[in-house]
């Protein structure tokens, strides 16, 4: 469920990119639009979608999808 949502959010933020099936390996820079600004907007949209808030410290470590997925778990998303 989380994964499907995340894929949707990625697609919304980066409509021009081809999001592969196994997108957990993706990280900032995986495609041109995913620069530091695009990354911030992605994180904000994830926060809004799940109604959670990352700390600044957390945000700095969330540069790839794998870390984002596990941060969501630690925020109780999906449990």
């Amino acid at each position: 469920m989380i994964l499907a949502d995340l894929a949707g959010l990625l697609e919304k933020q980066f409509p021009d990119a081809d999001i592969p099936e196994s997108f957990l390996g993706l990280s900032m820079g995986s495609f041109p639009d995913w620069d530091s600004l695009g990354h911030i907007s992605l994180l904000l949209s994830i926060e809004e979608h799940y109604g959670i808030r990352f700390s600044l410290e957390e945000m700095e470590s969330l540069s790839n999808m794998q870390n984002i997925a596990s941060a969501l778990k630690s925020h109780g998303v999906g449990s």
């Binding site: 620069d35 911030i40 904000l44 600044l56």
Partner: protein
């Protein structure tokens, strides 16, 4: 409006989805981060949205020792680029601003709050400008935010994380209110309000309760309807036309208009009416014909959701505000109706706003706006260079890792390599700091040069994109030259390694006096050929004689 340039004093997160409402259907461009002075001095043939947080323009600690008079002087300096633009183009400029900062109610209670006073004079300065320049539109974000709850609109984490002062909610309110203003450039205000009578102009069904039974007066529900009428009357005062469409017997309705003591709207306030038992659609169409106006000039106010829905389907051109169940909310809702609002009470046709009221030859003290260089001088830039000491290595690493735009070679140095650079005698390096009238910008640049006897090779030349458009790169180059000369260098070799993002630095070397390096034309014994192995094959390489190189644009800095 077809082209819009958006710029801010801090990060506006241009790719945040909230901007879609503004940028859809037009050519919108965010440019570089915080490049607002460049925008103000730049293209005069596009509309501009400038988002200003006063705190970005004037450091709070500077507000503390300002008397009101000198505050005005400094405000005119930060507003200078705006005035320059306003004096040079009729294209609209929308300034969305916030002057808010957290402050103690105690200090505000006895005039101790210099910041609040500064904010007030900034706001009034903008209003003065708006009075003088018909192309200036202002949006007081603090008022917009206050309505929603200011605490939810700002986000300190976003500010410290990526220089965006607003939360997603704040961004949405900003973009939504900006769009409401911008859309009026293309869509004229509605001209006619068609209003229902029973339970809209007054409470109750006239046919059942009679003139004395309707709610209209000075207490309770009656006062609500009085205020609804007053609100409509205010719109009349601004040139809006009022018509009545009601399912009633006509003589009963006139009885109310002519005899009820609390009626605010009188019969001669109405431009047209249809009081009968026909369907409202035919009545609306008939009024439109009578007034010779298109249905897209009409606003339809009716308490019945059934009537509203029907008109919405049959006459989609008509604007139909949703009227909430709670009638006490209507007066404020009507007062703030965007559909009727125009930029000024006397504007006859607001579609012409861009060409509108071209005030000829207006020159105030402020409009003696010089050029960009003059502005740069007036902000009193004081750059400095700092040794790459241990406690600055982390900042230097950040600059290497995060700067994509003004970065000649995009070498991603890390703390360990930078530490080596700082201790290795064959390298010269320094960090760049900048202070100006807007405050202390901190460490904003890094230069690393590799020395081989009398030749130096630029390994890294990095400037934060916040600092572009200030000629700071010229100062940094001069600083490098001075440093190299004192190390007995005669020659400088530098290269531009293109990436997807650093095109802003492309012409820097050639613009600043360096010459393209063509190995074929140089004798093999020329000192610069010592750097041949360092120059990349796909780079644009340049060189210069350090004793002959004259760097332009240095006059904008304080000596």
């Amino acid at each position: 409006m077809t082209e819009l340039r958006i710029t801010g004093t801090s990060n506006l997160l241009g790719n945040h989805r909230s901007w879609n409402v503004v940028t859809q259907g037009i050519q919108a461009d965010f440019g570089d981060f915080a490049d607002w002075p460049t925008v103000m001095f730049g293209n005069t043939e596009q509309a501009v949205l400038w988002v200003v947080f006063l705190e970005d323009l004037i450091a709070p600690e500077k507000a503390a020792d300002w008397t009101t008079d000198s505050a005005r002087d400094d405000l005119s300096v930060v507003l200078h680029p705006l005035v320059h633009r306003l004096s040079n183009t009729k294209y609209p400029t929308l300034v969305a601003f916030s002057t808010w900062r957290s402050e103690s109610v105690v200090s505000q209670s006895r005039l101790n709050s210099t910041w609040t006073r500064l904010g007030d004079s900034f706001t009034s300065e903008l209003s003065n400008l708006a009075e003088k320049f018909s192309s200036l539109f202002i949006l007081d974000l603090d008022r917009v935010f206050a309505e929603f709850g200011r605490a939810d609109c700002f986000d300190s984490r976003n500010y410290y994380g990526f220089r965006c002062r607003l939360s997603s909610v704040g961004l949405e309110l900003l973009t939504d209110s900006a769009q409401r203003i911008l859309s009026r450039f293309d869509t004229p205000a509605k001209k006619v309000v068609v209003v229902d009578c029973d339970d809209t102009l007054w409470g109750g069904t006239l046919g059942e309760v009679g003139v004395s039974g309707i709610s209209l007066g000075t207490d309770g529900l009656g006062m609500v309807y009085t205020d609804i009428q007053r609100s409509l009357k205010r719109w009349l005062g601004q040139g809006v036309l009022l018509a009545v469409v009601s399912k009633n017997d006509e003589e009963h309705v006139w009885e109310v208009f002519d005899q009820h003591p609390d009626m605010q709207i009188r019969r001669d306030d109405l431009v047209a009416w249809r009081v009968n038992w026909d369907d409202k659609r035919s009545n609306l169409v008939a009024i439109a014909k009578e007034l010779d106006l298109g249905l897209d000039s009409f606003v339809f106010l009716d308490n019945s959701s059934f009537e509203r829905e029907q008109i919405r389907q049959l006459l989609p051109q008509v604007a139909i505000p949703e009227l909430p169940e709670d009638v006490t909310t209507w007066p404020a809702m009507l007062d703030s109706l965007d559909e009727l609002a125009r930029f000024s009470a006397t504007d006859e046709d607001s579609t012409k706003v861009t060409q509108y009221r071209q005030r000829s030859a207006f020159v105030s003290a402020l409009t003696e706006a010089g050029d960009r260089e003059e502005f740069l001088k007036s902000i009193a830039m004081r750059p400095g260079s700092l040794q790459l000491s241990d406690d600055l290595l982390v900042r230097a690493e950040q600059l290497c890792q995060k700067t994509n735009q003004f970065n000649l070679r995009t070498v991603r140095h890390t703390v360990p390599t930078l530490r080596e650079v700082s201790t290795d005698a064959s390298y010269r390096s320094f960090l760049v700091s900048l202070e100006d009238r807007f405050g202390d910008h901190g460490t904003v640049g890094l230069v690393v040069a590799f020395l081989n006897k009398e030749v130096a090779f630029v390994d890294s030349f990095i400037l934060s994109c916040r600092m572009l458009g200030r000629h700071l790169e010229a100062w940094v180059l001069q600083e490098l030259i001075t440093c190299l000369r004192s190390n007995n260098c005669d020659w400088l070799v530098a290269e531009f390694l293109p990436t997807e993002r650093n095109s802003v630095a492309r012409s820097f070397l050639s613009d600043h006096g360096l010459v393209p390096l063509e190995w074929e034309g140089l004798p093999a014994t020329h000192p610069v050929s010592r750097m041949k192995d360092l120059v990349s094959s796909d780079a644009h390489a340049f060189y210069a004689d350090l004793h002959a190189l004259e760097v332009p644009n240095l006059e904008v800095f304080e000596s």
